[in-house]
């Protein structure tokens, strides 16, 4: 599977209150949450993204609370992939569990500009920047997480164990 979309850059230390402020945590519906995605960064931020666009975070993306509503809001906004310098650890686990593709690339994050057109292959971790012609390889997904992914995610993993 290859994801193609336009890059939308946000800064370092983007916290979960920026992704989805607590006042919107009165629902678990990804579509409802998606409409308020990044409302804590800028009002109406979500209007700038099209379905399939790719989010580019800086250092420590998703720091703060454990709210799973954060990856759900990003998915609900139509964003299937987040590429970041690094991720906060709770967000990283949540993203995987929700089926949001997360790629960590360290300092190579500077090679992606806002509005660049990207192609991402999560299987190989390859990111093609069509606007600059550069290819970036992301850090490998930890082995155990890859196994859970291969089983269809944590829900399926548990389903198999309890049945």
């Amino acid at each position: 599977m290859i994801f193609a979309g336009k890059a939308h850059k946000v800064g370092d230390h983007i916290d979960t209150d920026a992704i989805i402020p607590a006042r919107f945590l009165v629902t678990s519906d990804p579509f409802e949450l998606g409409r308020k995605c990044f409302e804590g960064l800028e009002q109406g931020w979500v209007n700038r993204v099209k379905k399939g666009d790719i989010l580019i975070g800086g250092k420590n993306f998703g720091c703060g609370s454990s709210r799973e509503h954060a990856p759900l809001a990003i998915l609900g906004a139509g964003i299937p992939v987040v590429i970041a310098h690094s991720f906060a650890r709770i967000f990283y686990r949540n993203g995987f569990n929700m089926g949001l593709v997360l790629l960590e690339i360290g300092d190579y994050i500077d090679k992606i500009r806002d509005q660049d057109q990207l192609e991402v292959s999560p299987g190989t971790g390859e990111i093609r920047n069509l606007s600059t012609g550069q290819i970036i390889n992301s850090l490998p997904v930890p082995e155990f997480m890859a196994e859970i992914l291969a089983m269809g995610g944590l829900v399926n993993y548990v389903r198999e164990k309890v049945s």
Binding site: D17, V26, N60, S66, E68, L154, V158, R159, S163
Partner: protein
């Protein structure tokens, strides 16, 4: 192999041999926690997993504390969903209404968590129980649903940063100031993927509530856990709370650390985290007459009885500035009752404070103290992200209960010795 506190506790509960940092281990969970915001999502995931019952109905705690007393219809619906799940699963530790308090103050008080436990919670401040010598960490709702179903979870064994604290704290400097100082030193991602381990003579002399304040904010440095050794004081505290057979836990001599920090606390003074990140920390005396509209005393960081006592001592016989709303939220019903009996609530009310019920409320911008644009708050809470407590154009400063009380009186952020 000599083990850090994290390795030692994980080993006690692990199905695998716990080795070096970076290894993935599966562990049994001692307690699994969720609240009124995160439990509804966990319930959905639990159903999708096809689980029929929780692994142990005495080892799951559901605490409705964030938007409660329910602030609107949607939050009432969420609590209803959690309540129905708790009844269906016959969960023993379900807390709502008059039995509910801020989860990370409530569970230690009820003796539900203690030394050498592995605790996972769908709340990032689950790391608070590190103050009791537990390996405790926050996760998302689906990870928590898995733990509720299986009674186990997986961890990457974290590297550990050891923080050794020496010297003497002056009477206006408390554990909140220490943890703010440390976060300022290492940054909001300074402990990313890692555990913090606190030791030294300052820790040995520190009461258990003060330790929980520090462990609570390990996540604000990106930490997976903030761990204190469990010593005689911890054992006493947990035994009184009713935790069964608490034991001491210490790291091994010669354990491998990623980094070791030594901090002399003598002369440190009160510290303030300025907007909009918890690592933007300055000594209070470096702030230049920062006026505030609101002061909040409470939360899982600083809403315990010792915090209320410290604040009351400062504000006793004084008046809250006419330009300030001073909101005091005792973190649990028992703390509320104790503060009432000790006359602390009377001191706050006579000074002109608002005393509210136990709730997380304003800390996360939920309710009971939301900020308008241009407004500024000094809070004893744990996060000062932009918009955290209300408008995107508001500001939150973080400080200790003593600074909070002094600030409420002065109307500007001030050293407690100056009121």
């Amino acid at each position: 192999m000599a083990q850090t506190l994290a390795q030692k506790i994980l080993q006690k509960h692990s199905l695998d041999e716990v080795g070096r940092a970076g290894q993935i281990v599966r562990c049994k969970t001692s307690m699994v926690l969720a609240n009124d915001i995160t439990a509804p999502l966990a319930v959905d995931s639990f159903r999708r997993m096809g689980a029929a019952k929780v692994f142990d109905r005495e080892k799951v705690a559901l605490v409705c504390d964030h938007f409660t007393p329910n602030k609107d219809i949607d939050s009432a619906e969420q609590v209803k969903k959690v309540r129905e799940f708790a009844r269906e699963m016959k969960i023993v530790h379900y807390y709502e209404g008059g039995s509910a308090g801020v989860e990370h103050a409530l569970l230690p008080e009820l003796g539900l968590v203690g030394p050498a436990d592995v605790v996972v919670g769908a709340d990032s401040h689950t790391c608070t129980y590190g103050g009791l010598g537990a390996f405790a960490t926050g996760m998302g709702s689906t990870d928590i649903a898995a733990a509720m179903a299986l009674g186990e979870t997986w961890f990457k064994v974290p590297e550990t940063i050891r923080v050794n604290m020496m010297g003497r704290l002056d009477k206006h400097t408390v554990s909140k100031d220490l943890i703010l100082h440390i976060i300022g030193l290492i940054g909001v991602d300074g402990a990313l993927y890692r555990a913090l381990e606190f030791t030294g003579e300052v820790v040995d002399a520190m009461d258990v509530e003060a330790r929980m304040t520090m462990a609570n904010m390990a996540i604000e440095a990106g930490g997976k856990a903030g761990l204190f050794p469990a010593d005689e004081m911890t054992v006493d505290y947990c035994r009184k709370a009713g935790f069964p057979d608490p034991g001491k836990v210490y790291p091994d001599d010669g354990a491998t650390y990623f980094r070791q920090l030594s901090i002399d606390v003598t002369g440190m003074g009160p510290q303030i985290a300025c907007p909009h990140l918890p690592d933007n920390v300055k000594p209070v005396d470096e702030l230049d007459r920062v006026k505030v509209d609101q002061v909040v005393l409470g939360s899982c960081t600083n809403g315990r009885i010792s915090d209320l006592r410290q604040a009351a001592e400062i504000i006793k016989g004084r008046k809250v500035s006419s330009n300030v709303r001073f909101i005091v939220l005792p973190a649990t019903p028992r703390i509320y009752e104790q503060a009432l009996e000790e006359g602390l609530l009377g001191i706050f009310i006579r000074a002109g404070a608002i005393v509210g019920p136990p709730t997380c409320g304003p800390c996360l911008g939920g309710h009971m103290g939301i900020l308008a644009s241009g407004e500024r708050c000094l809070a004893t809470t744990n996060r000062n992200f932009r918009g955290r407590m209300g408008s995107l154009e508001s500001e939150v400063y973080l400080g200790s209960p003593l600074v909070a009380a002094a600030t409420a009186v002065a109307g500007e952020i001030i050293h407690p010795a100056k009121v």
